[in-house]
């Protein structure tokens, strides 16, 4: 039974030390068996979605991320929206963001947020989200162009910006991330088809390989759709236990029994991923090989067959 003691009423010091030691041990053991190449010089990042509850579970995910950072030194965390629930005062930013990820922030890990429906529009200005005051923005890390989108309001201006950014991108990988999933087989929300109709044609046209989203409070890896692998990772604080209704035609892997987050490593044409539960257990992992394409744009459907390997050890 997970503990729901609020973080402002912590355990007694002795208990905290014991819990931290136990978690550290579990995390260390788990990290040793992370199914990621952990190649020096590769781009390593984490993905969290729907995290900002301020509850104990969010703190425990944060501890797991911190523990794994020691052996898998990622320096970027992409945030998939609903970064904060409920109150969003300065003290909430401390309780629901700065404190759970304090060690990562101290270690210089950069968080790059996209906003969800529970976030306040003005949060684009919160310094540690690194959003440059924009609802949508892009940046480059290694050979990857990340595009953080605002899926809550997809206006013509954003679509024009997205098309121009994808068209002009010279990087090998283009990785959009945003809150509402274009494909999801969770019962609560499911696929945002209204957005899929707008965004997917651009992703296909300009050779996107991987998309990350949250919103549904589960983990799901979707089989490549028109050549694109979609991840739903919306359980880094919230959880809708047992909410997945896996579709054999779409679902490649899923986990809906505990909070989770993702670790990703990009090296050349290869992207390795692992989804990790709050307990430290790896619940899904695999590799995506970038699609073969002559030019950045206009890849034919026949060229868009990514190699994706991976599997759940225990979906439920």
């Amino acid at each position: 039974m997970p503990d729901r003691r609020p973080p402002d009423r912590p355990w007694p010091r002795r208990s905290r030390l014991a819990i931290a030691a136990a978690l550290g041990l579990v995390a260390t053991l788990a990290a040793q068996s992370l199914p990621l190449p952990n190649t020096p010089g590769s781009l390593k990042f984490a993905a969290i979605g729907d995290n900002g509850t301020g509850d104990t579970e969010q703190y425990q995910v944060g501890q797991q991320m911190t523990a794994l950072h020691k052996t898998f030194p990622y320096d970027l965390v992409i945030m998939l929206g609903d970064n904060m629930y409920g109150g969003q005062s300065p003290s909430d930013f401390v309780r629901k963001f700065e404190r759970p990820y304090a060690e990562l922030l101290k270690a210089g890990v950069i968080f790059r947020a996209s906003l969800g429906n529970h976030d306040r529009p003005e949060n684009v200005n919160y310094k540690l989200y690194n959003m440059e005051g924009q609802r949508y923005y892009s940046y480059v890390r290694g050979n990857v162009r990340f595009l953080a989108l605002d899926s809550t309001q997809v206006d013509q201006k954003q679509l024009a910006w997205l098309e121009a950014t994808l068209r002009d991108a010279k990087e090998d990988w283009k990785v959009p991330y945003f809150h509402h999933p274009l494909y999801s087989n969770a019962a609560r929300h499911g696929s945002s088809v209204d957005l899929r109709v707008l965004l997917e044609p651009l992703f296909v046209k300009y050779g996107v390989d991987v998309v990350f989203s949250g919103h549904d409070h589960v983990y799901e890896r979707v089989k490549p759709q028109k050549g694109i692998t979609y991840f739903v990772s919306g359980a880094a604080g919230q959880l809708r236990r047992g909410n997945m209704r896996p579709d054999p035609n779409e679902t490649a892997g899923y986990f809906d029994q505990d909070q989770s987050f993702m670790l990703v490593e990009v090296s050349g044409d290869q992207m390795n991923f692992a989804s990790i539960a709050r307990s430290g257990k790896v619940v899904d992992s695999g590799m995506i090989r970038r699609q073969a394409r002559g030019t950045a744009q206009g890849a034919g459907e026949e060229d868009r067959v990514p190699v994706v390997t991976g599997g759940n050890d225990d979906g439920r």
Partner: protein, 395 residues
Amino acid sequence: MAAEPRRSRAARLRASVPRLSQFALEHLLLLPLGAGIALIWANIWPESYFQTSYAAAFAINDVAMVFFFALMTKEVVEATAPGGVLHPWRRAWLPVIAAIGVATIPAWLHTNLVDYFDEPMLVSGWPVAFTIDVALAYFVARLVFGPRHPAIPFVLVLSIAADALGFVALAITDPTPFRPAGLAGVVVAMAVAGGLRRSGVRSFWPYLAGPGTLSWIALLWSGLHPALALVPVLPFLPHAARDPGFFVDAPEGARDTLSQFDRVCRYPAQAALFLFGLINGGVPLHAFEAGAWALPVATIVGRPLGLLAGVAFARAIGMHMPHRLSWRSLVPLGFATASGFSVGLFFTTALIPPGQLRSEISMGVLITAVLGPVLALVTGWLTKARYGEGPAPDA
């Protein structure tokens, strides 16, 4: 002995269905029909629905809806003629003042409720809380109060004024960049329409082809909604000396320009309304988050409160309530005006781009369109608001 009360109930039921114009009746049927089909379509074949909806959005929302707003403007223009609810203007002041409360209190509630429902992004939908579907409010008020109750002209003026305030709010908050110079084109269109009228042009076609087209282009260019293109032009069309009544079909023999326009444009407007419901009413039911309740709660609670506050303010500055319009009757009246429906959906599509916010606000509009009339009927029955059969008090 038993047959008499049965006949009496049947007669009362028949009498309770207002005699409305064909346009108003079809407004009340075609728009819900379109929205109902859209709801089913969007939830069974969402991909084809949204592809169709996005492809048709400009043609329907920005072009075809010109005829709907033109016919609504025609009703308002005629209402300023002798016998109309806006004639003389002095008579309309109390509901106009009350409209400020009716529009702003639900909007204020909405901006606060979205925090309660933990969906702060929904705050941008506040102008939708201003809107009142004039035809729906009129229809429900006639059912609740009877056709000759002074609440009927009151509700019409109230709805028109609240929508007018809503359009101001929409213009202020519309994210489309605004080019004020474009308004010069609208002024020119009005001047040309005035010139046509002074020249004695009796056909409405030159008004549509010249000033109407110019106004549409100017509004589009300026960043304001081009569906309102005929709103500044219609007042220049020659109209009947007396108002035939709100939502009353133009008599067959009427030869004034506005009545001719009504007869010809009624059918395009009906088609536009159906298609408008069809392409904008499709809300994925999985988008039905707690936030979708913010708008219905704000309007259902805020409308009667706003009406009471607005009327209290108007009374405090020396205005008088219409004869036989009691404080108690303001409650069902408030519920009758709760729904924005056609105008609410129009504001939603104009203001909020595709995505979850639009879905939630649209869902809120649809919920209110059902809840508002039901509550109006229930509270009207509880407060015994309806007139008996007899002469109107102000007749």
